[in-house]
């Protein structure tokens, strides 16, 4: 009877655990007959809730206009979360029907054959004679070309998206500062010479920096284009970064930043760069930015209300005029079940009415000429006054094509940052590093030219038979092991009750772990079906271990950090624990205070520390300055030496957990040992060495192993605080793994990294355990 009860309860638990999943499936299918559902996914970065609302309104209107079609809207947040979500959905074969694609991601998606070609719809529109027919000629041609891909480069070939809006770039200027410095406000025709002259004059104002110049790869390339040079040829066939003109242009930019005081913000810290520095009113110009900063800059109060007047000027000209087109499309999933309805929706979302609504947001330029040149966009009731400036740049603006392999942009960005932003490399060094990294990358063709497909059938058959063998073996052992009927019945009940966990473990832990090993031997990209993966053998491992310099840097950064953080953290935790054993009034409060940081959210804490380490106004550098020590640029040009130590110092914030374990260990030590030592005449240092340390040794061992493992797994801090920058100088192992897996879609490669990390952790743990055997005394744990 009892046994029956156990069986029923256990089964109910399992059923309950999976009911939710099943329930979702049932509700999803609950559509009226004849109705279809489209899923739409977008992001809302700078546009915020306003953008969210505009899309939602537009979709409601679409539903009203198209009975029988329902639209489900997803918005995972910013662009980063959007791409992660999209990738996951695509890998699961559950991609949304219609979604945003940024121009820079188009090549990658199109190459993986994930997007529906739109040419046949477009050509049909022309002849359809419909009142709402889509006419591509009404769009700025550069924006349309940004979503054409010919299998090799963007700009020509098949159309994969309809641009919803776009922007050109330029500088945002603080007009009040220009007036104060007596610098005439620039026009759309200004040159770089005028720009830098203005920056120098403005920098002479007390406490003012001339300009912020972001060194994002696309901005660097746009800058180079104004000098008639580039880092890569337009056909993406040859690297041009080593050309003398390119080097000269880059050296000029670097010199402005690093050889002059206050002319450009020198990228001394992350909060001192980017769009937000302009808000403070201490930077006279900021750019090159597109239209997307406008919603947040509109929050700057006018001069009368304590803010300042500002406006926009397009990018200055060098030897030629150039600008870039940054744009986002609405695209359709290649495997959508409702291509016709999806196309209808894309048309709806890019038509004149939707574009007008979007224009009011101020976030971007409408892609339809007629709307862009209408009051919907040019209305100057809100700043900037110079809306025309964005349009002035359009004739010279082109889409800057990127190789389909996103690694190019990554490597370019990180090496340029080291040269231009942090300045710890000369341009020659940075360029050399770029070329070497890029060559290593392109020479790596996992699996060779024609790798075989992954033999999934064979693998799954093998895995299943292995699983069968294991189960049979376990059953046999179980059968033999316990002879008495009672014992066996108890074991059965035990397994039954543990089965929800066991199932969960097998499905959500053991299977993915085993799977990741298989994937590490393939070139699966993480955003296509598994069947598209090729078998590459140990190529990923070989590349990682012998050739990938970025990986080696990541390993070095992590090791440097571990070497500092583990001893520092453990000494501090033990010291704090010893202090916390004092019998003082309110000691519980102190203990709680020390532990508190450990329960705070990692992201919030990371942002806090980002400010503490800020090289210009940060707490630490202020303190150092006050005692006459010039503080390093922790995450700037001194990052190679001071970046990982900064993280190590930050990790001390979290010693509370270790401290609590030490505290418990300390309280286990018999008081008599200290008394005996007292009577023997040992001083406090001797007592610490001969009693506390040996008696605590098992706890130290435990904490040490945990700390070593944790130090190999640093992610959140680095992701939030530096994103691995500058260059790769704070790119920790797991951060690089994340970049590879979820940003560069190299899941096989990332899986190999995960397995190498696992082996490293295992080896270290084993080493510590073995070497410690003679130094650990378990007396205090024995009773």
């Amino acid at each position: 009877m009892t046994r029956l009860m156990l069986v029923v309860i256990a089964s109910l638990l399992v059923v309950a655990a999976f009911t939710r999943v099943a329930y979702r499936g049932i509700t999803a299918a609950k559509l009226n007959t004849g109705e279809i559902e489209l899923t739409v996914m977008h992001w809302s970065g700078e546009g915020g809730q306003e953008e969210d609302r505009i899309v939602e309104d537009s979709l409601h209107a679409f539903e009203a206009a198209n009975p029988g079609v329902r639209v489900k809207r997803l918005n995972p947040g910013d662009a980063g979360s959007f791409y992660t979500k999209l990738q996951t959905m695509m890998a699961a074969g559950d991609a949304p029907d219609v979604f945003y694609v940024g121009y820079e991601g188009l090549a990658n998606f199109a190459k993986l054959d994930l997007l529906l070609p739109l040419d046949k719809f477009v050509s049909r529109e022309k002849t359809s004679g419909l009142s709402d027919a889509l006419d591509l000629d009404a769009f700025y041609p550069q924006t349309v070309d940004a979503f054409r891909f010919d299998g090799h480069r963007v700009g020509q070939g098949t159309l994969y998206g309809i641009p919803k809006d776009f922007t050109t770039v330029g500088f945002y200027c603080n007009k009040d500062l220009f007036r104060a410095a007596g610098v005439p406000f620039p026009t759309s025709e200004w040159t770089w010479d005028e720009y830098i002259a203005a920056a120098r004059t403005l920098a002479a104002l007390p406490g003012i920096t001339g300009s912020e110049f972001v060194t994002w790869p696309v901005m660097v390339r746009t800058y180079l284009r104004t000098h008639g040079c580039e880092v890569i040829s337009d056909d993406l066939e040859s690297i041009r970064v080593q050309e003398p003109a390119t080097i000269a242009a880059l050296e000029t930019l670097r010199a402005w930043r690093h050889d002059e005081v206050n002319t450009l913000t020198s990228g001394k810290s992350k909060i001192a760069t980017g769009a937000s520095v302009f808000l403070g009113g201490k930077v006279a110009m900021a750019g090159p930015f597109g239209r997307w900063v406008v919603p947040s800059y509109r929050n700057i109060p006018s001069s009368e209300n304590g803010g300042f007047d500002w406006d926009f000027v397009p990018l200055p000209r060098g030897s030629t005029r150039a600008n870039c087109v940054l744009t986002v499309s609405w695209s359709i999933d290649k495997n959508t079940r409702h291509p016709e309805e999806s196309w209808k929706l894309v048309k709806w979302l890019t038509d004149a009415r939707s574009q007008s609504a979007n224009a009011r947001l101020g976030l971007a330029i409408p892609t339809m000429k007629s709307i862009a040149e209408s009051p919907a966009f040019l209305d100057a009731s809100l700043p900037p006054a110079n809306n025309q400036g964005y349009l002035d740049a359009i004739p010279d603006a082109t889409v800057i094509g990127w190789p389909a392999d996103a690694t190019f942009e990554r490597i370019l960005g990180s090496t340029m940052d080291q040269g231009l932003k942090s300045g710890d490399l000369t341009m020659t060094q940075a360029i050399a590093q770029f070329q070497s990294s890029w060559n290593t990358h392109v020479q790596f063709v996992p699996g060779g030219v024609n790798p075989p497909r992954v033999p999934w059938n064979m693998l799954s058959a093998g895995a299943l038979s292995l699983l069968g063998l294991i189960i049979a073996g376990a059953a046999w052992l179980w059968w033999r092991g316990s002879s008495s009927r009672n014992a066996r019945a108890e074991e059965r009940a035990g397994f039954l009750l543990a089965s929800p966990w066991l199932l969960g473990f097998l499905v959500f832990m053991a299977f993915p772990i085993a799977m990741s090993f298989v994937l590490s031997l393939t070139n699966w990209r993480g955003n296509g079906p598994l069947s598209s993966a090729d078998w590459v053998g140990v190529d990923n491992y070989a590349q990682l271990l012998w050739r990938d310099a970025r990986f080696h840097t990541a390993a070095k950064v992590t090791a440097y950090y571990a070497l500092l953080a583990v001893p520092l953290g453990q000494v501090l935790a033990l010291g704090a624990a010893i202090v916390m054993t004092q019998k003082v009034r309110g000691i519980a409060l102190f203990r709680a205070a020390w532990y508190l940081p450990s329960v705070l959210a990692g992201v919030g804490v990371s942002i806090l520390w980002r400010w503490i380490f800020d090289s210009q106004g940060g707490l630490i550098n202020r303190v150092l300055e006050s005692v006459g020590i010039p503080g390093p640029e922790w995450f700037g040009k001194d990052a190679a030496l001071f970046g990982p130590p900064a993280f190590a110092i930050m990790s001390c914030w979290l010693v509370g957990g270790s401290m609590m374990i030490y505290l418990a260990g300390l309280q286990q030590i018999p008081r008599e040992l200290y008394e005996a030592a007292h009577i023997d005449g040992a001083n406090s240092w001797r007592r610490f060495r001969t009693i506390t340390l040996p008696m605590l040794s098992p706890v130290i061992l435990f904490n040490l192993i945990m700390a070593v493992i944790a130090s190999f797994q640093v992610f959140t801090q680095a992701f939030v605080m530096t994103g691995g920058e500058p260059g790769d100088l704070t790119r920790f192992y797991v951060l690089y793994l994340f970049n590879k897996a979820f940003e560069l879609y190299d899941m096989g490669y990332a899986s190999a990294m995960a397995w190498i990390l696992l082996v490293v952790v295992l080896v270290f743990t084993a080493l510590i355990l073995r070497s410690s055997a003679r130094m650990v005394y378990y007396e205090s744990l024995r009773k």
């Binding site: 008599e672 040992l673 008394e675 005996a676 009577i679 023997d680 001969t690 040996p694």
Partner: protein, 397 residues
């Protein structure tokens, strides 16, 4: 060798708990003094105050005539053996024994000794320490164990190392805090004897704490029975056994303890429920008095005879006899302990009075539980106590 004197020494803990209450104690050169009492009686606290591990709240502690109240433990020249031995886990037996000597050397720092040109002095010290460790180890039979770690030793061996650590320094006073209670019964007996021998050989002053009165009696030159933070009796073990100072000591010392019957004394007769004992006129202070008191006699001062049917009623008045019923018979070989309940006229008035008699085995051969018996008390060896838990013994002539 040293004297230890406690004058009106008290220990008060936070919250007003008085663990030790103004005790006086004078321990002579070379004396083996045992503090004994139930747990919480203040004996360990007293020992720890002597050691300097607890602060003295009030009173004066002298070692060799010098006030040491405020002297730190390490400067009192005492050694302390802990109940759990407190051996340093990462040091070998030899290092454990030498530890105290190492801490006291004048040239402990090898670097400094080298720099100040005192390497020879340091070397002589080292040789002396090694010599001392050898002496101690041969005294205690630790030679085989010197290179071992505490975790590799048995309980008895650890105990010996703990003693070795204490004697290595040749202190003035040895303090033992229940050193045998973690050993099994047989080893405890053996070690007891060894301790006794060691004491004789070292002629050291020892203060020894135990809750085991048997251990206390066998070891003590001076037995100090403590209860509720006060000294109840301070004498030799024999005196404490034969003439306990009060009812507490009477009940605490001796196995099995003294039989005690609450009752009333009047006109030369002790009366209790079911008991009426005419007593010889040994208590001059009680002549013509009538007062409540307790009667006590040792189990081995009682004899037992089987009650027969025909002498029923009148035997109650037949002198020092108590009617009782056997509730347990514990045969110890040559002796047998018989536990009895006194026959009561009524079941009123609290619990049953229990008695124990220790008799020769052959006398008790046929005794069974439930037998009705008469207890014959040797009235020459009975004691009378004032009422109350610590009621003083009423002096007999």
């Amino acid at each position: 060798m040293a004297t230890v004197t406690l004058a009106q020494v008290s220990k008060m803990y936070d919250g007003g708990v008085r663990a030790v209450d103004a005790i006086d104690l004078a321990i002579n050169h070379g004396e083996f003094c045992v503090l004994v009492g139930p747990s919480g009686c203040g004996k360990s606290t007293t020992l720890r105050m002597i050691a300097g591990l607890e602060e003295i709240t009030d009173g004066v502690l002298e070692i060799d005539g010098a006030r040491v109240n405020d002297l730190p433990a390490k400067d009192r020249d005492i050694a302390f053996v802990f109940q759990n031995y407190a051996l340093y886990p990462h040091l070998t037996v030899a290092q454990n024994v030498a530890f105290g000597l190492e801490q006291r050397r004048a040239h402990g720092n090898p670097l400094r000794a080298m720099l100040t040109g005192q390497r020879d002095a340091r070397g002589r010290e080292s040789a002396h320490i090694a010599q001392r460790v050898r002496e101690v180890s041969s005294t205690l039979g630790l030679d085989e164990l010197l290179t071992r770690y505490p975790r590799e030793l048995s309980g008895g061996q650890r105990q010996r190392v703990a003693v070795g650590r204490a004697i290595a320094r040749n202190p003035k006073v040895f303090l033992f805090d229940e050193p045998l209670s973690n050993l099994d019964a047989r080893l405890r007996l053996e070690t007891r004897t060894q301790l006794r021998l060691l004491h004789r050989r070292l002629s050291a002053t020892i203060v020894y704490v135990t809750h085991d009165q048997e251990e206390a009696m066998t070891l003590a030159d001076r037995l100090v029975v403590m209860h509720q933070g006060r000294v109840q009796q301070n004498s030799t073990a024999q005196i404490a056994y034969e003439t306990p100072a009060n009812r507490f000591v009477a009940a605490f010392i001796g196995t099995p303890p003294m039989n005690l019957i609450d009752g009333h004394f009047a006109h030369g007769t002790f009366e209790s429920h079911g008991v009426s004992l005419p007593l010889p006129a040994r208590w001059p202070s009680l002549i013509n008095q009538s007062k409540p008191c307790a009667l006590g006699f040792r189990p081995d001062r009682a004899r037992i005879e089987r009650a027969t049917a025909h002498d029923g009623a009148h035997s109650v008045s037949a002198g020092a006899k108590i009617n009782a019923r056997v509730v347990a018979v514990e045969r110890l070989g040559d002796r047998t302990d018989i536990a009895m309940e006194v026959a009561r006229e009524s079941a009123m008035n609290g619990g049953q009075t229990r008695l124990v008699a220790r008799v020769n085995a052959d006398e008790a051969e046929h005794m069974r539980e439930g037998d009705e018996v008469r207890v014959l008390v040797d009235t020459a060896h009975v004691h009378l106590f004032e009422p109350g838990e610590c009621g003083a013994r009423i002096t007999a002539s």
